[in-house]
Symmetry: C2
Subunit: 528 residues, 2 copies
């Protein structure tokens, strides 16, 4: 039996052009369930339904959207066991602690934060200029397609993750494109989402689910005028195709494509606390078999005895650590190919470098090294993302060379600098940090990049190719909502026709910028 | 003699591949001054200098940037007569009231508002989460190229306008590409800017000026990694080429490409005050010979006697009004070509439709009409922008048809609805406005779209092709600054290394979001 798609509020047989199966990565074999590959006509039905759904959503009070997101979060918690078992089967991520105690609470927490933001409305930055009677606000943009990644089936999932929560909270219906590596998890979540939508009286097409379409149809969807915006997290190759299609019609597309997350360990820090840093690094790099967007993929070290001892310690820990299961066969192949690319370019294998070694799809814990000089001869190649339990040490011969390595980096989600606490590295820090700052979305001190707090101050973003625009974050409320909105200005619009959030009376405790001052008061009070 | 370019703080002879001359539009002939077409190597020198300048700018106190912008504004005022005479000669825009009393004060006002924003720092939305010690802020992005339009030589000029002021205030050096129709005006402004930069101790490459480069070199510049962002206002064709080059490398580019600025006049409004609206429309459409981004290019009217009388009145006013001089020969040719496209598609000429009729480059005041039914057979063609003293009336046979016309529109900067004050049009308004809302950046009631107030609540932006991203405004402070910034997060960064605006102590009266509340207090006080 082929599973059904969710279109316009109805689960129904797909008008499919074929089917596919997901794998069980631990067993390295297919799971029996078949999922449809939707035709273009099915994509069109979803687009049409989303347009109708959007027109209906625009009329809803924000409270309804908040209730939906909260009901959905409750539903996910009620079905926690089933969801985590399915997700674990499809991804090999362990139920405990990762899925049940980590990712699932993060997911429901994000949905509830998004609900609170939708209800409170301060996210949309209402701005009122009383002298000119011009008012503006970030308003909903229209139907959003979300393409989720394979590595966070829940917290970044296309129908449950941060992009989904942000798009809905900003007032937009979502067409979810399942990640084909965990269609069953996505289906379970979609069922709960759809029930929550019905129970809270949301429009029929608030959430829709398509499992897969051809690449051509994906690009066609990205360029279709019925779709207003796109959230994509996944491979750089596929993402760039969607980006080109969206860019050609000037449509906002928010991508998270690749990041090697450079970590610079300055000499004083290594002299002071090499073992501690080695432990931190190993934990960060091997956790979840290294399959995090913020995995520390490049470590810059100064040459010398301290660094050699550090490399040896990490090597020993990598060799001792169990080899985890990767998310997929293509993940195993991709990691092996990336290691080969690095080796072919001149990197030396410190440990690992072999496929297998763990249960099912796997690859040995791998450490590579290259000199700063060699790195600078082909910086693009040495920035090849080896997604998984792997990292490249770049051993530089001077701080000048370290600066040049940092200058040669592409955009990244994160960049870290470890420095001595006694000031020994301060001069070096002052040279490295300004260069690294412009290359990354999040700059860290003395801390590994994995672990992305859901904070209003978080930036899970950064310059291309980490993302498609350095002004937006994919994690954190209210920032993530702004991606799925448009700036809407009202000039001389009659008071009764303004959205409530822009009327003189503050509809609640909304933070609004009235005559250049942030206030929660109503206009006559604010300007009194 | 060929004029010099401004590279790295020095006026010097260009390494040119050729020269060009601007026209005097009133005389319909070339002005003697020759300006260089820069080679790629000159573009590269500007890029390299801008990189150095950016590294220096990052170290400056914001006060310095503010002083520069204010000094520059003062300098423009001191040279007002010379600037306005030159601009009038190159554009045919009258010195009074347009340039001296309108555009020049707008320009200096924008520079001073940008200075105030840079000094006050609230524009960068500092966000502090004390529980996680994560802090973020919109920081400077790097060298910005500004391509200014022909129709506002000062207020949107590449080295004096809103994009320039925003880019500098956000902490970035600017490479200005002069509009080739007013190189002399741009040169005068660049001289004043450069003097102000020297006097206030700004980096050598804070402002640089190139007059022209080949299209290929322009695209190469757009894609070059030394350039961080682009502001472009101009023709759709050239803008899309630059956009493709920037998009391919994931670089932010903010474009203002074209807009027909639909005006919907509902039947009750026409019954109530047709003559008044006809006067407003004529003024808006013919002011500045119609050469505004927000010129009302499409007017939707319900068929019937009131509309016929309205058309007749506007026709009479168009025939009686003097025919203004257009900015350029290509402007005249482009307007004639657009009118021909509309006529060929089935629009009927109500009045005008001929080239010439005024001093120099000109085109008769032109009104066209087409039925709603015909419009809907080729909505894209009928949205051809006829830039200048021209507008197309779309006469619909029902409110349903009006809704379909609005639904068929591309993105626009503005959309207006005129409705009766007695409620007679309210039901129609409620059908039109939600559709129009999603198509435009600024929605107006009972007011023509020309006249873009420099307000914090302004949105001079909108969905593609009005701009390249519907989340940003090109006019208004602080919004316009955000375009030339990147979101920069600091995670566990040591207190002394944080930018002052993110340290616990508020460095002034900066509005910061501390633990989800906007406050001007310091952190220990804010959380007490």
């Amino acid at each position: 039996m082929t599973h059904q798609v969710l279109i316009g509020g109805n689960w129904r047989d797909s008008n499919a052009t074929g089917t596919f199966q997901a794998d069980d990565p631990r067993a390295a074999s297919a799971i029996v369930d078949e999922y449809p590959i939707s035709s273009w006509s099915e994509c069109e039905e979803a687009l049409n339904a989303a347009q109708t759904g959007f027109a209906e959503m625009r009329q809803l009070p924000v409270e309804r959207i908040a209730e939906f997101l909260e009901r959905y979060a409750d539903g996910i918690e009620s079905a926690s066991v089933e969801i985590c078992e399915m997700a674990s089967r499809e991804t090999a991520l362990p139920v405990e602690p990762r899925l049940a105690s980590g990712e699932l609470p993060r997911t429901t927490g994000q949905l509830r934060q998004a609900a609170a933001a939708a209800r409170q409305q301060s996210w949309c930055l209402p701005t009122i200029d009383t002298a000119t009677n011009i008012r503006s606000v970030y308003g909903s943009i229209g139907p959003v397609a979300v393409f989720g990644p394979n590595n966070f089936p829940l917290a970044f999932g296309s129908i449950s993750g941060g992009d989904f929560a942000a798009a809905i909270a900003a007032g937009n219906p979502v067409i979810a494109k399942a990640n084909t590596m965990h269609p069953g998890t996505t289906r379970l979540l979609a069922e709960i989402a759809q029930r929550a939508a019905v129970e809270t009286g949301m429009p029929a097409a608030t959430v829709q689910l398509i499992y897969r379409m051809s690449h051509e149809d994906g690009e066609r969807l990205a360029g279709d005028p019925r779709l207003a915006a796109i959230g994509y997290t996944g491979s750089r190759h596929a993402g760039l195709k969607l980006k080109a299609a969206a860019d050609a019609v000037g449509k906002p597309i928010y991508l998270e494509l690749s990041s090697v997350n450079p970590v610079v360990i300055l000499p004083g820090a290594l002299a002071q606390r090499a073992d501690e840093i080695a432990d931190e690094f190993t934990g960060s790099c091997l956790m979840g078999t290294g399959q995090f967007c913020t995995n520390p993929g490049i470590v810059v070290l100064n040459s010398g005895a301290d660094s050699e001892a550090f490399v040896e310690r990490v090597k020993s820990k990598f060799n001792d650590a169990p080899v985890g299961t990767l998310l997929s066969k293509s993940g195993q192949q991709g990691l092996a190919a990336a290691v080969k690319t690095l080796v072919d370019a001149g990197a030396e294998i410190v440990c690992g470098g072999e496929q297998g070694g763990g249960t099912g799809y796997s690859h040995s814990n791998t450490l590579l090294r290259v000199s700063g000089e060699a790195f600078l001869t082909a910086p693009e190649v040495f920035q090849t993302e080896a997604f998984g339990n792997c990292s490249l040490f770049v051993v530089v011969n001077s701080i000048d060379q370290a600066v040049r390595v940092v200058q040669s980096l592409e955009g990244n989600l994160t960049g870290c600098v470890y420095s001595a606490t006694d000031g020994a590295d301060d001069a070096d820090y002052d040279r490295i940090a300004p260069e690294l700052r412009q290359k990354v979305g999040r700059l860290l001190n003395d801390k590994m990049p994995t672990g992305v707090a859901v904070s209003a101050a978080m930036n899970h973003g950064g310059p291309f190719p980490a993302t498609g625009h350095p002004g937006f974050t994919a994690v954190g409320v209210p920032g993530s909502l702004l991606r799925f909105s448009m700036l809407q200005c009202y000039d001389n619009v009659r008071a009764s026709r303004l959205p409530s959030v822009l009327q003189d009376e503050n509809p609640g405790d909304v933070w609004r910028m009235v005559d250049r001052q942030w206030t929660q008061r109503s206009v006559e009070l604010a300007t009194a």
